[in-house]
């Protein structure tokens, strides 16, 4: 069908000879199988880190914020650094599922499910920080404009911290329903495959009774498209609002108009890096290399390269404007970053964010999975330091030299950060074992356009074949025919010999159960025609089985003789 036409220049997004059913089986496999030792080990480590974090949070709330390394001058440090870092990481998921959907990028389909999961889990981590960094957590509900007994005392809508509340909660909830709606057909697939009653019940509950009617799909696609259209401005606005926490202040080094787009670019940059880190491991562990291909990783590397360059441009712009402004405070802020007591953090941020993505210009490097993995981690380290540098170096030295100070974190600061990393991985590891990690319904819809076997078939001049009709690539037969020429002769004696010179060979593959490999074996024995096969009886079946290593009993089970008789006519 012409709808499946795709330019031959495009590389396949689904590697190997897959059918719709293969996709189902391979996506369901990690969910239906049992967790291995490695999973339990990693899960335990993550859980311990999480518990340590819970302890640190309890200690903070019970004792007071004073257990952190903050001081009178530096009132925001690790808490908000981690908050912005996690929010930034969360942005890639929406970018992949929404922006790439609007641009009709088919490669998003292999990765969008996990990228969105990553979004949700990292926004959950981010959401912890605005709450636990409050001095009085128990009054956190005061940020909501709820009618109350204080003459109805409202919130102040001028504050970016209140905008944050609206932005983050909208972002989390919209991402969640976007993700969940996309999951319905995949949960339905798991539900219909489930054998154990408990699993059946759970996936029936999760799939909301999805049935896959034509009308449902029509609405489903429209809803996805509109949600993508809404999520795209949302993702831009959320990090913009987060950047307003700094940009709307009067602090030199914070008060800049470049922050909104620059933070968003940084968010995409670090988010894609995190997706790369996770997917490089996941494709290996969950055996999904056919769907998350090298090309996916390369394309993500290209996004990292582009956004990394945008971030680099922003750094240079900031430096230029600081020099150009003629404001001593602004100039000193940047001088302090580069040469002050936190020069090492600035250097780390510059080298990780500006230089490391530039390696991706090399095709060899960006196609290397090991290299991509290393860079993806380097980028996230760099982006953590970017937030740290912006926050701490602008605060610790500003207008009044008498308030200049330093900042160093305590074990509680570090504990909470490690705890959120642990929590993130606890959630992600649980997700990887219970959710369909690839949007199988979407992947199936691009199989015919972008599947490798279909592309090869089209390139060879064929029309789109039905899934069953795909010719498996014929590999040279390696099946060792046992050296029992005697049995062979007995077999051929009762079936009749085939003379290549006078007769034409039949296409034995037409017998159901005979593939290219078996045909080769049969030919090796000397069986070429339907006439020969049709003469087979139990005795010949047994003889044939004794000649074959595998495929034993298949000939009889599939009634080759009967089939051949029909084909002979």
């Amino acid at each position: 069908m012409s709808s499946h036409y795709e330019a031959p220049i495009r590389r396949p997004l689904i590697v190997g000879n897959k059918s719709y059913h293969d996709i189902t089986v391979e996506v369901a496999a990690p969910v239906e199988g049992k967790a291995n030792k490695l999973w339990w080990t990693v899960f335990t480590i993550a859980l311990l880190a999480f518990l340590w974090g819970v302890g640190s949070i309890m200690y903070t709330i019970g004792t007071g914020i004073g257990v952190w390394g903050l001081n009178k001058t530096v009132g925001w440090a690790w808490d908000i650094t981690n908050f912005v870092w996690w929010v930034g990481i969360g942005h890639a998921g929406t970018l992949i599922s929404a922006v790439l959907l609007l641009f009709r990028q088919k490669w998003r389909m292999g990765i969008n499910r996990s990228a969105e999961a990553m979004t949700i889990f990292s926004v959950v981590q981010a959401g912890l920080f605005p709450v636990i960094h409050m001095g009085r957590v128990w009054n956190a509900h005061f940020v909501l404009p709820i009618p109350n007994q204080f003459g109805t005392l409202w919130t102040n809508f001028n504050s970016p911290l209140l905008w944050d509340v609206f932005a983050i909660s909208t972002y989390l909830s919209v991402s969640l329903v976007f993700w969940w709606t996309g999951l319905l057909p995949d949960f339905a697939m798991l539900r219909d495959r489930a054998v154990k009653p408990f699993q059946k019940k759970i996936y029936s509950l999760l799939s909301f009774g999805w049935t896959g009617r034509a009308k449902d799909w029509q609405r489903f696609e429209e809803v996805s498209l509109v949600l993508a259209g809404l999520a795209t401005p949302l993702v831009l606005s959320v990090h913009t609002i987060v950047s307003f926490d700094f940009a709307t202040s009067v602090i030199p080094g914070w008060h800049t108009t470049i922050f909104p787009p620059y933070f968003v670019a940084g968010a995409v940059f670090s988010g894609f890096a995190m997706v790369n880190t996770l997917l490089i491991i996941m494709r290996k562990v969950s055996n999904l290399e056919a769907y998350i291909t090298k090309q996916h990783i390369e394309l993500m590397n290209i996004v990292i390269m582009i956004t990394g360059s945008i971030v680099g441009c922003a750094y240079i712009t900031e430096l230029f404007i600081a020099w150009y402004s003629g404001v001593e405070y602004e100039q000193y802020a940047f001088l302090n970053r580069a040469t002050g007591p936190y020069w090492w953090a600035y250097l780390l941020m510059m080298s990780c964010n500006v230089f490391s993505p530039q390696f991706m210009w090399s095709k060899k490097l960006r196609q290397s999975i090991t290299f991509s993995f290393i860079i993806s981690i380097v980028v996230n380290i760099g982006m953590w330091f970017e937030r740290f540098v912006i926050i701490v170096t602008s605060l610790h030295r500003d207008y009044l030299p008498s308030s200049w100070t330093m900042f160093s974190p305590t074990f509680v600061d570090i504990g909470i950060y490690v705890g959120t990393i642990g929590f993130f991985f606890v959630l992600f590891l649980l997700y990887a074992r219970t959710f369909p990690v690839i949007a199988q319904a979407e992947v199936k819809s691009i199989l015919k356009a972008s599947g490798e076997s279909y592309k090869l078939f089209r390139d060879a001049g064929g029309k789109n074949p039905a899934p069953a009709k795909i010719v498996k690539s014929v590999k040279p037969t390696k099946e060792i025919i046992k050296n029992t020429s005697e049995q062979k002769n007995v077999l051929l004696g009762s079936l009749g010999a085939f003379d290549k010179a006078t007769q034409t060979a039949d296409d034995l593959k037409l017998i159901s159960g005979v593939g290219p490999k078996l045909e080769g074996i049969l030919n090796n024995i000397g069986i070429y025609s339907f006439d020969q096969v049709s003469k087979m009886t139990d005795k010949e079946y047994d003889l044939l089985d004794s000649l074959l290593d595998s495929f034993k009993g298949r000939a009889k089970r599939d009634d080759w003789a009967g089939q051949a008789k029909n084909l002979k006519k």
Partner: protein
């Protein structure tokens, strides 16, 4: 009144599309089609009307936008017009730039969530809903077309058999 439907099962979306066109051309009534993934153009081939769910989203967005303006105008300008850091609380428009982020977020929030709820209600999807697909394979790799029987069953079955179906079932509904 009991009516019979024929469930014709296909194993390929292209075969299904051709079959839909043939069945429509022969003036048989397609009750429903169940597919494991969105088959592009199927709704057009079946003659389904377009969905209006995007229009509802737009209206919900307008509601959210109006709600945000009303809320902030009431709280910040009408009820407690205080001076917070020199911000001009004299009228909504004087301090409008500060309200833009929340106006935006609430528009998106209302549009997205109410549209999704509308979708779940219209398509009858909720947590304890029982699935209604006729065969568990329709979420895997099979496509089922249900055709209403009006008249001779045998002739319709033989007609459908020629459209490339792999399995046919006649059921009472």
């Amino acid at each position: 009144m009991s009516s019979k439907v024929i469930q014709a099962m296909y194993n390929d979306d292209d075969v299904l599309m051709d079959a839909v066109k043939e069945v429509r051309a022969a003036k048989h009534h397609i009750e429903e089609i169940y597919t494991p993934f969105p088959v592009h153009g199927l709704d057009k081939a079946m003659g389904l009307k377009g969905t209006r769910i995007a229009i509802t989203a737009f209206m919900y967005g307008c509601v959210g936008f109006s709600f945000a303006i009303w809320m902030m105008n009431y709280m910040m300008i009408e009820q407690w017009p205080q001076d917070i850091g020199g911000k001009p609380s004299f009228s909504f428009f004087l301090n409008m730039p500060s309200f833009v982020p929340i106006m935006f977020e609430l528009t998106v929030f209302f549009a997205a969530h109410l549209m999704v709820i509308t979708f779940y209600m219209r398509s009858r999807l909720w947590p304890f809903k029982k699935a209604e697909n006729p065969d568990p394979r329709t979420t895997d790799d099979m496509f089922v077309m249900e055709v209403l029987v009006e008249g001779n069953v045998a002739s319709l079955v033989s007609f459908l058999e020629n459209t490339g179906t792999v399995e046919i079932k006649v059921t009472e509904k």
